[in-house]
């Protein structure tokens, strides 16, 4: 065990997997000598050399497409997109190619790539350094999508993603990089894909979320218990695709009241699907309408501080929504 930041856990996962399997390599912009714009790959080039920690030309479709080709050969590429906002030029490679390679070849070929991309705002990144694009890829069968909240999960999920035979999008939250700091085992473990995690047991309301907003949910839950005696049951989806339906339904049945929280905008977000699953499967277990707290339906987050603050979720916004649900 060692206390480390979320970003260190991601780096450690890559280091361990590269030591374990020589077919694992990293490619992306500035990942080599600079060690990534966030330092996620810092030092890895010294250990593994410039071929396995490869600085690529600035062209995201090639980063994804070359990774896909190498993966079909038998390599295990980790393609880094500097910001998830810049991932869209690679969307055709990810959705038309990576996601469909196993299916279209009738199981003859497979595509074991990991695409890592930082999501989320609150860093004065403006419209194009703040986005949460998971809904663009969500609903594309053939892709797995992971979005860890904790440092422990970040390490374990990334290791599982690297060892997965299918393409995995790994959305790491850039606000979590330094904010989340906790004990992480230094030994080899994985957190399986497709399995949600109960962060907190409670009886009054259920909160379902993923990635950074869970930080606010947990803070709000603690305060609510102390201040008002309301106990919240908090479920971290961890894997967005495939969703852990059983865990979602179990957590809803526990309290009968559910709030879904995410930073991606509300319309067409992951929360819409989670809500639909709940409606289809356990409508009569509900004691209140399903509620969602998400970012507003505007194209992306503005940089001006009051606007960014307005856009971002906060502990207080989450707490208010939780009280509203508890009182329903």
């Amino acid at each position: 065990m060692a206390v480390m930041e979320y970003i260190d856990a991601i780096r450690l996962a890559m280091k361990e997997e590269m030591e374990r399997d020589e077919n694992v390599f990293i490619l992306g912009e500035d990942v080599g000598v600079k060690g990534g714009v966030f330092t996620t790959t810092k030092g890895l080039i010294d250990q593994f050399g410039e071929e396995r920690v490869m600085d690529t030309p600035l062209a995201e479709s090639a980063i994804a497409g070359v990774a896909i080709g190498a993966a079909m050969y038998g390599m295990k590429p980790i393609a880094e997109m500097q910001y998830s906002d810049f991932m869209l030029p690679a969307t055709n490679q990810i959705i038309s190619e990576a996601a469909k390679i196993r299916y279209r070849s009738n199981n003859d070929w497979n595509c074991p790539i990991v695409v890592r991309a930082p999501i989320g705002g609150g860093i004065f990144g403006g419209l194009y350094h703040s986005q949460c694009p998971e809904s663009i890829f969500f609903g594309t069968p053939g892709l797995k999508i992971v979005a860890p909240y904790s440092a422990y999960d970040a390490k374990g999920l990334l290791k599982a993603a690297i060892r997965d035979p299918d393409p995995v999008l790994f959305f790491e939250n850039k606000k979590c990089y330094k904010l989340i700091k906790e004990d992480v085992p230094l030994d080899d473990y994985i957190v399986p894909l497709g399995v949600a995690n109960v962060l907190r047991e409670g009886d009054d309301i259920t909160v379902i979320g993923y990635s950074m907003p869970l930080h606010f949910c947990m803070q709000a839950a603690e305060e609510l218990e102390k201040e008002m005696g309301i106990t919240a049951h908090v479920l971290d989806l961890r894997t967005l695709q495939p969703l852990d339906r059983d865990a979602i339904l179990a957590s809803v049945r526990k309290t009968g009241k559910v709030l879904i929280v995410h930073e991606d905008n509300k319309t067409g977000g992951i929360g819409a699907e989670v809500s639909a699953i709940i409606s289809e499967e356990c409508l009569y277990d509900l004691d209140a309408p399903i509620m969602r707290l998400c970012s507003p339906d505007v194209p992306a987050m503005p940089i001006s501080p009051p606007m960014e603050k307005f856009y971002m979720l906060t502990k207080d916004k989450v707490k208010e929504a939780m009280i509203h649900l508890a009182n329903y």
Binding site: A59, A62, G65, G74, S105, N106, W109, P165
Partner: protein, 351 residues
């Protein structure tokens, strides 16, 4: 003798003979090349008929492009190299080992189709056994994939190359440029061959490209070569040289093979809406398959009787393939749900 081939004096005759010998090709190999070209031509013609007869849904033709396709395949290592063909490459995939039966199973969308189990349109080739990498319909996405295979060759110190094809219209896609640039920067063993057939569906070359496709290689720091795609031996020579360069670690080569799409874009296209019959007829005179036949006959290693025999043989092979595919079972409807992700067992074996 074919009347179109002029009588030649001894000197020219000798020069003709040397055309394939000096490339290291035996008489048997060039006859074999011709056989694959003609097989692809006959296969294509049969598919057009089958579509018109309502037996199959769709066909994208490669008529007029077989020469360069087959010649390129012969210049590669068909035991080692990785191939990323595009949807007109019937001649290519036949020459690297896919059988007419396998292709017909795809045309009929039957369960046994090795390309996709009846999931994809015909012309979307793929076979791990033959190292034909599965392809899609959005054009040119395969160029970065080929570069990825070449990157793997370099990283794993393997002596194979990747070979990728696409049309001239596709060479305007970002993936072409991004792939070329990546391959150039890392000096990767990839051969990038554009089959310039003059048309992107209905849009002619002068509305697609203002320069020369082969010149684009200059910007990426590797050689770009334009070659007559109807000249099998020239295509063979440039692909072989490109492969030798790649294996020596000297990086990629862009080849622009000039040809003409003699058939409509697909069975859903009326090409005479945008080009004239005269233009098409003019290009039939340059057909590389007929040219190869004339070459073989002029050397005295082939004749009309042998050719007639070969046509009968190929037609029989295609008929057998058609009958087999026609009678083969469709996939089970519920198999639609299979192979979205790895099976639980496969997943476990990777962990």
């Amino acid at each position: 003798m074919n009347k179109e081939v002029p009588a030649m004096n001894d000197k020219e005759n000798t020069k003709l003979k040397n055309q394939h010998e000096q490339l290291g090709l035996s008489d048997g190999q060039v006859i074999d090349m011709y056989r694959y070209m003609l097989l692809a031509r006959k296969f294509d013609e049969r598919n057009l008929l089958l579509q018109r007869a309502g037996k199959i849904n769709f066909h994208v033709s490669g008529v007029g492009q077989e020469t360069a396709q087959v010649a390129a395949a012969f210049a590669l290592d068909r035991e080692k190299d990785y191939f990323l063909p595009y949807y007109r490459d019937y001649g290519f995939v036949l020459a690297v080992g896919m059988t007419p039966r396998e292709l017909m199973l795809s045309a009929f969308a039957k369960a046994e189709d090795p390309n996709s189990g009846g999931r994809q349109m015909p012309g979307h080739f793929g076979s791990k056994r033959l190292r034909i990498v599965t392809g899609s319909s959005p054009v040119t996405t395969q160029v970065p994939h080929a570069v990825g295979f070449a990157l793997a060759a370099k990283m794993k110190k393997q002596d194979f190359v990747s070979f990728v094809t696409f049309g001239e219209g596709s060479s305007n896609q970002g993936d072409f440029h991004e792939g070329c640039n990546f391959a150039g920067v890392h000096k990767l063993p990839v051969i990038i061959m554009c089959e310039n057939n003059q048309y992107a569906i209905s849009v002619p070359i002068h509305k697609q490209i203002s320069g020369k496709i082969s010149d684009r290689a200059l910007g990426y720091g590797f050689p770009g070569i334009q070659v007559d795609g109807n000249d099998a031996l020239e295509v063979y020579r440039v692909v072989k040289e490109a492969r030798e360069r790649a294996i020596r670690g000297e990086g990629p080569t862009l080849i622009e093979a000039m040809m003409y799409r003699l058939s409509p874009h697909s069975t859903s296209d009326n090409d005479l809406a945008y080009r004239t019959q005269e233009e098409v007829d003019e290009n039939w005179k340059k057909d590389g398959v007929a040219r190869m036949k004339s070459y073989l006959i002029s050397l005295g290693i082939w004749d009309e009787a042998k050719d007639a025999d070969l046509v009968v043989q190929l037609n029989m092979e295609i008929k057998e393939a058609t009958d087999y595919a026609d009678h083969a079972p469709f996939p089970k409807p519920e198999d639609t749900l299979l192979h979205v992700y790895a099976s639980a067992e496969e997943e476990k074996s990777w962990q």
